[in-house]
């Protein structure tokens, strides 16, 4: 089978965006927890 690669935009759309979002959400939750708001 031929090797095919995602374009840069494809990488951003497929996994970079959800990863950055997940890091933000988890970071926010950890911050709330450390401030005793959770």
């Amino acid at each position: 089978m031929n090797q095919a690669h995602l374009s840069l935009g494809g990488h951003l759309l497929l996994w970079v965006f959800p990863l950055v979002l997940t890091i933000f959400v988890v970071g926010d939750t950890v911050r709330d927890w450390r401030r005793g708001r959770l």
Binding site: A4, H5, L6, S7, G9, L13, F17, L21, V25, D28
Partner: protein, 549 residues
């Protein structure tokens, strides 16, 4: 006749029946804790973070997430995924901005529905806002409920390999509608939230487990990308080979889907029902992670379907086809139950919102009846049953009409209520006249813009001649509303100004599409912008004299 083997049909059917019994059991349990009106409409403001978080997100994603979104990536490859950032940005605004503020506001002024929040925030002495909001919500929700019941019928019949137009469809609509209406009548908001939690988790597990399982079977992500590239090199890019205005229209339109979230009454009432500020903080991570899993899961299902089942006539059926092809019948039954779960979790929430709009907003608040808590509960239950029955009748009678109108439902609700919810939570100069202008502008611009898109892209469904003459119909509708307001003596000067402003914005929208060809743009984006402008403009020009608490 079924196209599947008899043993498969039996197994899948048994799992489905068990799933429906679980729903009824949850409804029965919830009914034992439902004693009064606020219990029925808002679960007595006692939802925990899991029920509130998953219920808010599962209600917002209808059958679209297991059918339509899957079809997007099946048809367009990676570029079909643009809906995911659009929806998730909408989630971010809803969960981090709207949820904590709306909970605080509704607890402070004791409001039970989104309409109630708006009316109490700006004052509504003659019920103009309440009745306008109820009319828009009821129209959109009835159509939405009917279309979801249609989707349930199709999912049932195709899960069992039956003909989509045969008796399987009829039984699917009737069984799905009967079960979910019964559950909602019994347990009200609490039953809806609990069944949403169960169904939302089922959807999330199905949408992430199925594509990963099939990707492992076909040889990993490398094989997936190779297969996509072999089908079409554009499937591996974020633009999908689009250029210029078509590209920007596609991207902005997909991102614009997210604008609607703060205006969905069946979603934001979950935040109002949360038991504490702490629970709002907790629901944030739960709801966001559910969104990431579900949107990217459904995107992956479409991509995997494209590579492993490239000959499907309809990409929207990829999930069901993959389940039957690649998993054991028991697992396939659970996966197909997840498809129906996505539909039913939305139906139940919408049934309840439509019922609350009638029984709470109109009968109890506008007409001042049934103040007593027990009577309020009975009234809520009866209204759910009636709305459910009407939904079934529309689903069985006017299927084509339903699909037509449902196109307006998301954008119409989003444009009418999302700017208003955001403005209600901030500290702006908006008043009750601006609020009326916002709702009418949102609804009006959505209708003309959507019709315009239809005329330009598919002239067989809407005649261009009809669209050319639409401007005077807008004026006639405005005149009727103004006369009604005058005859009933409900309108103040500001209300009339709001109707005129909404008419002007709607005509401007018609002009932009008709004369300047702005039909590449998804209607929610301009409708949202115009509605916000109308709210701010009318409120600045027509201040309310007396103070409102």
């Amino acid at each position: 006749m079924s196209t599947l083997e008899a043993s498969t049909v039996t197994t899948v059917g048994t799992v489905m029946v068990l799933y429906l019994f679980v729903l009824i059991f949850i409804g029965w349990r919830a009914s034992r804790r439902t004693h009064g009106g606020e219990d029925f409409h808002l679960a007595g403001r006692s939802l925990g973070p899991w029920a509130a978080g998953i219920s808010s997100t599962a209600s917002s994603e209808s059958g679209w997430v297991t059918l339509g979104a899957v079809g997007m990536t099946y048809t367009y490859g990676i570029s079909g995924l643009w809906f995911a950032p659009g929806c998730l940005l909408g989630y971010l605004v809803n969960i981090y901005y709207v949820a904590p503020r709306l909970r605080a506001l509704s607890a402070k002024n004791g409001s039970v529905t989104l309409t109630d929040v708006i009316c109490r925030r700006w004052g509504d002495p003659r019920h103009v806002l309440r009745l306008t909001a109820t009319a828009i919500i009821l129209l959109c929700m009835m159509i939405y409920v009917a279309s979801q019941m249609t989707a349930a019928g199709k999912a049932f019949s195709s899960s069992l390999g039956l003909d989509a137009d045969g008796p399987g469809y009829l039984y699917g609509v009737l069984i799905g509608a009967a079960v979910i209406t019964l559950v909602t009548v019994l347990g009200g908001f609490r039953a809806v939230a609990w069944t949403d939690l169960f169904q939302g988790l089922l959807v999330a597990v199905a949408l992430i487990a199925l594509p990963l399982w099939v990707i492992a079977k076909i040889g990993g992500f490398g094989a997936l990308f190779s297969g996509l590239g072999a089908a079409d090199p554009n499937f591996l890019t974020a633009t999908g080979g689009r250029m210029g205005p078509a590209l920007w229209g596609f991207v902005v339109g997909n991102l614009g889907i997210g604008l609607g979230y703060p205006g969905m009454p069946h979603v934001v009432t979950r935040y109002m029902a949360t038991s504490s500020d702490r629970d709002v903080q907790r629901l944030q991570i739960i709801a966001m992670m559910w969104g990431v899993v579900v949107f990217y899961g459904s995107g992956l299902v479409g991509l995997v379907g494209r590579v492993s089942l490239s000959t499907l006539a309809d990409g929207e059926r990829a999930l069901m086809a993959l389940a039957l092809e690649f998993t054991h019948p028991v697992v396939a039954g659970l996966l197909l139950a997840a498809v129906i779960s996505a539909v039913l979790s939305t139906v139940s929430s919408q049934l309840l919102v439509a019922a609350s709009a009638v029984s709470y907003d109109v009968v109890e608040q506008a007409f001042g009846k049934a103040r007593d808590d027990k009577r309020s509960l009975v009234l809520g239950r009866v209204t759910v049953a009636v709305v459910g029955l009407l939904g079934v009748l529309i689903a069985l009678r006017g299927e084509s009409m339903v699909f037509w109108f449902v196109l307006f439902a998301w954008s119409g609700l989003g444009a009418s209520f999302a700017p208003l919810t955001l403005l209600a939570l901030g500290d702006t100069w908006v008043n009750r006249y601006g609020a009326l202008a916002c709702m009418l502008t949102g609804a009006g611009v959505t209708v003309v813009w959507k019709l315009g898109i239809k005329v330009m892209t598919d002239p067989t469904t809407v005649s261009p001649l009809f669209f050319d003459r639409l401007w005077w119909m807008v004026i006639v509708v405005a005149a009727v509303i103004l006369m009604l307001g005058r005859v009933t003596e409900a309108f103040e000067v500001g209300h009339s100004a709001a109707v005129l402003a909404a008419t002007a914005f709607t005509l401007a929208g018609w002009f932009l599409v008709q004369r300047w060809g702005f039909f590449n743009l998804y209607e929610l984006v301009p409708a949202f912008a115009f509605a916000t402008a109308a709210a701010l403009g009318v409120s600045a020009l027509f201040p309310v004299e007396e103070a409102v608490d």
